[in-house]
């Protein structure tokens, strides 16, 4: 009967006979009563007694509580995140970001966050749940007297619990609470952290730490884009995965702490970006410093970088600048982030610049799997006849050279992804109960790694590569002609009334109608097979450079096109409807 009680909550089907008829083994594992299959799932001990009591868990002022029996100390989730942010800021500093970022900008953002989320630096720390007391630098700030919770707040508590919320009773309830929480988490508030209804607050997560970093970088207009930041994270230059191993010995992680600090996926561009926007609003930040045309993040600047990396002729920069100017995406007001201003679309600088280049390539070469090859043949012909002077840009040659490098690098990247080691030396266990099992597994993994490492022939992964903002490198010093930076576009331009225009008279739009980004999440939709291969290749190239899905670049391309062709398109659609009538 008691067992039935215990297995009630586990109602997945058995993997072997798909019955739902579970029993518990002595070891606390579930086994199937029908086919005797034993799962590796163990019963999670949920102490319901604690749950009712949890809301009283309020922390008083004063010094850190005495050490717990296991040699750990009391610590709070926000302290963990603070440590992580510190580590990340230090890493960024080592990468050359100015020291202001850590000591002033990120610090004050974090301080502001703690204040706004009522975790610290406020007169009345959040009554309802947790008040983190000491944030290292200034534990005195928190020492202000906790007031009685507001009437509204008291309504949510049972009367008896309400009574407990007096200063003197804190100490006694405190020790009880921390004992029972130790089942759940090493941190004091880990269990509550995930339970809290955080709608009005912004809960810290691992990706959010990167949002903080990016926000600080953006504030300082540091020459680093979000895609670059995320690439440095994946390459290990900025601590992220397993960052908890840098926690001090006394900060023990277990239980729900793992859910908070242990990540098993790489940060996703969109997620970090959107969290950054949310954060900026949450912190009530004013308009960010202007992004002018002398800033690295200005599309004209970023285009230079990406043109170089994509091995495209320098001359194209002239064209990207013209597109930027024509549709006004180089304007300070367009580029500068204004938190909370819903009327403007927020700019992803890296993607925008890449998309501008794609649009320029479309303007000049059309990228319809036909015209670009035609132009390439013409250029080849001219190069043959014209021995002196600069070479004409041949699309075909460029494609071949870049495709080869891209394929090689992509393969390397894919293999690296498959070969990534996610676990660190410091083993984590959910509870003390499965500690020995976890340690045993870890030992076996190490043994097997050694055994097969010896057989693999290649030496263990070399030192991580030095951080570089360029992933593909082309140098004009190479005599093999694989660098196209100096090639001329003359062949594909023509003079018309004293103006240089593209020979190409036509254009195709990626989409006729943009989607509503707020409703559908995308401006446009990308499916590889619907588009010319040259176009896809160009998207793939930038998708590799920025480590984002091609569809994100495609979205931005569509946006630019629509700005560019707005009037023509409008006329045309109108004309079409007139025709139909």
């Amino acid at each position: 009967m008691e067992e039935e009680e215990d297995t009630r909550d586990f109602n997945e089907r058995c993997a072997q006979c798909s019955e739902v008829n579970w029993g518990l083994t002595d070891g606390g594992r579930y086994y199937c009563r029908s086919c005797h299959n034993v799962t590796e799932r163990t019963r999670e001990v949920v102490n319901t007694d604690f749950m009712t009591n949890s809301r009283v868990q309020t922390i008083s002022k004063g010094s850190r509580k005495q050490e717990k029996t296991d040699g750990g100390c009391e610590w709070y989730v926000c302290e963990g995140f603070q440590l992580i942010l510190k580590k990340q800021a230090e890493a960024l500093e080592a990468l050359g970001v100015c020291s202001q970022m850590k000591d002033e900008v990120l610090y004050s953002f974090w301080r502001c966050y703690l204040q706004k989320s009522k975790q610290a630096y406020c007169n009345r720390p959040a009554g309802e749940t947790v008040k983190a007391l000491s944030v290292r630098e200034s534990s005195t700030d928190v020492d202000s007297e906790p007031e009685r919770p507001s009437l509204l707040h008291l309504l949510s508590l049972s009367e008896s619990e309400g009574d407990l919320l007096t200063d003197c009773s804190f100490a006694s309830s405190m020790s009880k609470v921390s004992e029972s929480t130790s089942i759940y988490s090493g941190s004091v508030d880990g269990s509550l952290y995930l339970m809290k209804n955080q709608k009005e607050k912004l809960r810290m997560t691992m990706p959010t730490t990167l949002s903080f970093c990016y926000m600080a970088l953006l504030w300082l207009r540091e020459p680093i884009t979000l895609s670059e930041l995320l690439r440095f994270v994946v390459e290990g230059h900025i601590p992220y995965l397993n960052v908890f191993q840098h926690f001090p010995e006394k900060m023990k992680l277990c239980g729900l702490d793992l859910k908070i600090f242990c990540v098993e996926s790489w940060p996703v561009y969109e997620e970090v970006y959107n969290k950054m926007l949310e954060l900026a609003v949450f912190l009530d930040l004013p308009r960010f410093p202007d992004i002018t045309d002398s800033c690295f993040l200005h599309p004209d600047m970023l285009c230079i970088k990406y043109l170089m990396e994509a091995n495209l002729p320098d001359e194209l920069h002239n064209w990207t600048c013209r597109v930027v100017k024509k549709i006004g995406i180089g304007e300070v007001d367009f580029l500068t982030l204004v938190p909370g201003n819903k009327s403007t679309r927020k700019v992803k600088y890296d993607i925008l610049a890449a998309a501008v280049i794609v649009v320029v390539l479309k303007l000049l070469f059309l990228l319809d799997d036909h015209y670009e090859w035609l132009l390439s043949d013409l250029a080849e012909e001219r190069n043959k006849n014209n021995k002196e002077g600069g070479l004409y840009f041949e699309f075909k040659k460029w494609y071949e050279v870049v495709k080869h490098s891209l394929d090689v690098e992509q393969k390397k990247l894919d293999e690296e992804r498959a070969k990534y080691l996610w676990r660190c030396e410091k083993p984590l266990f959910y509870s003390v109960k499965n500690k020995s099992r976890v340690l045993k597994r870890r030992q076996m993994v190490v043994n097997l790694q050694n055994q097969f490492g010896k057989l693999s022939g290649s030496v263990r992964r070399a030192e991580k590569p030095n951080p570089s903002s360029f992933q593909l490198r082309w140098s004009e010093e190479n005599t093999d002609g694989s660098c196209f930076h100096g090639h001329s576009l003359k062949g594909i331009l023509q003079e018309k009334c004293g103006l240089l225009t593209a020979m190409n008279p036509d254009y195709w739009l990626c989409t006729v109608k943009l989607c509503n980004e707020k409703l559908c999440g995308h401006l446009a939709h990308y499916r590889e097979e619907d588009f010319p291969q040259s176009y896809h290749f160009v998207l793939r190239l930038f998708s590799f450079l920025l480590r984002i899905q091609p569809s994100y670049i495609h979205d931005e391309v569509c946006m630019i096109e629509h700005k560019l062709f707005n009037k023509k398109l409008y006329k045309k659609l109108k004309y079409n409807t007139v025709l139909r009538k």
Binding site: W422, L448, N504, W508
Partner: protein, 466 residues
């Protein structure tokens, strides 16, 4: 509205017809952009999906790299990727059909078997770890380990491992792995049989010298007992146990327990719970033959074999046996058997088979009785045998490679396809040219018997009957 107007102006400047080219205000050296035309048809693309790199995806990719490497026998590369895959042991995948630990066991075994730098010591070390990793397949891992040891000639180690596995107890897990336990015991029985037969040979050799060793004999008998117990157990369970059955029967026959042996073999061949197994009938046939049993029981054993595997090599013996029979029905069956055997490509150039067929067909033609048997057999084959057996190309090749074969085949072809058949025509022509006597006789025989061909092929039926 203002911006709209501005843009209008801008575009006009770009076209550059109304104003001087140098005029566009605001821009320094750059001319404004000239926009190309839009296409007639505009199309709408569809959606994309996200691709997040996480632990699971990364390990899945790793696994597929391992599989690719293994398929291409790149064991070093496979080992390299496996080093990164083993991490997945630390994650709970209990809901997946094949757990990472099983993957690692199977892949690791395969790599260690093939890798040029791996050693038996390394293999043993790996397997010992795998045994502790999954109680649910403990015995399976043990068994595979034993196979590997046997393949490397380490019979004593294998025996030790089997004994160890046999004594393994792990609560209900032991009961769940009942089948594997039976196999473990059976293989131990097999190894007991192996040492029994070794000692038997020793004794037989010494016996010739007139010197018998009592202790060796005793040991041999104890081996027999140990082997017999376990082998007897496994062959009770429906399954394909060729190896075990053969050894067990060998033991029984050696100790003169023929009844038990016969019973075992009958059970193995005829119990419908066992899967259909040609070898079961072969063993029974061989046993019956050794025992000098009656023709009837021997034939019935082979009849079933014929039903299961018409192309079996014993079909020649079967046909010979049936041809000699006095009963018409059996001779009829014999013809069926040999025709059926020759339906298979494996028999195409077998002189023995063709001579069996030639002999029987010739007999029938000479006696002029039962021509309808041939006709019936030929009916279903006449549209494909000529191309399959009797083409001009084959005639040429058979003649060059094997005169005996071409003689037998030509005889059959002559009767079945007449004197104008390609095969017969070529072979008899060549035979006469080479002035070989039997070919000249063959030619005469076929020429004289040509009407038979007409009757067999059904050509004469309509013209003769009325």
């Amino acid at each position: 509205m203002d911006s709209f107007l501005e843009e209008e102006e801008d575009e006009e400047a770009a076209v550059g017809r109304k104003r001087s080219p140098a005029a566009p205000a605001g821009s320094t050296l750059q001319p404004p952009l000239h926009l190309p035309f839009l296409p007639v048809l505009l199309h709408q693309p569809a959606s994309s999906h996200e691709n997040k790199v996480n632990f699971k995806k990364s390990k899945e990719a790793c696994l597929s790299y391992i599989q690719d490497a293994m398929l291409q026998k790149q064991w070093k590369r496979a080992a390299e990727f496996l080093t990164f895959y083993v991490e997945s042991l630390e994650k709970d995948y209990s809901r997946e059909p094949i757990s990472p630990s099983e993957m690692i066991w199977r892949i690791g075994t395969e790599i260690l078997c093939h890798h040029s730098h791996s050693s038996m010591k390394e293999f043993n070390c790996f397997v010992e770890q795998m045994k502790t990793l999954g109680v649910k397949r403990y015995l399976k891992v043990c068994l595979e380990h034993v196979f590997h040891l046997l393949c490397n000639g380490q019979i004593d180690e294998a025996y030790q491992n089997l004994s160890l596995a046999e004594s393994w107890r792990f609560g209900e897990q032991t009961a769940l792995q009942d089948k594997e336990m039976k196999l473990i015991q059976a293989y131990r029985g097999l190894l007991d049989y192996y040492s029994w037969s070794k000692q038997k040979n020793v004794l037989l050799e010494r016996g010739l010298d007139g010197f018998a060793d009592l202790s060796v004999e005793q040991e041999m008998h104890s081996c027999f007992r140990k082997a017999a117990v376990n082998l007897k157990e496994i062959i009770k369970i429906p399954g394909v146990w060729d190896l075990f059955v053969k050894c067990y029967v060998d033991l029984l026959e050696f100790y003169g327990d023929h009844n038990e042996a016969r019973q075992v073999l009958n059970e193995y061949a005829y119990n419908s719970k066992f899967p259909a197994n040609p070898n079961a009938h072969v063993y029974l046939y061989q046993f019956l033959k050794r025992q000098g049993e009656s023709k009837k029981s021997v034939i019935s054993a082979l009849k079933i074999l014929h039903d299961i595997v018409p192309s079996h090599e014993l079909m020649i013996d079967f046909n010979t046996m049936l041809q000699k029979s006095k009963k018409r029905k059996k001779r009829r069956l014999g013809l069926e058997v040999i025709f059926a055997a020759l339906d298979y490509a494996g028999w195409k150039e077998n002189v023995k088979a063709w001579s069996c067929l030639a002999r029987q067909v010739k007999q029938i033609v000479i006696s002029e009785k039962h021509l309808d048997w041939i006709k019936q057999e030929w009916n279903s084959r006449k549209d494909w045998w000529p191309a399959f057996h009797f083409s001009r190309y084959l005639a040429k090749r058979n003649w060059q490679e094997n005169k005996n074969l071409s003689y037998e085949k030509a005889l059959v072809a002559g009767i079945l396809l007449g004197k104008d058949g390609k095969y017969f025509k070529y072979v008899s022509h060549q035979g006469c040219k080479a002035q070989v006597k039997r070919f000249r006789i063959l030619k005469k025989f076929v020429n004289r018997r040509n009407p038979v061909y007409l009757r067999i092929s059904g050509l004469s039926d309509s013209s003769v009957q009325p």
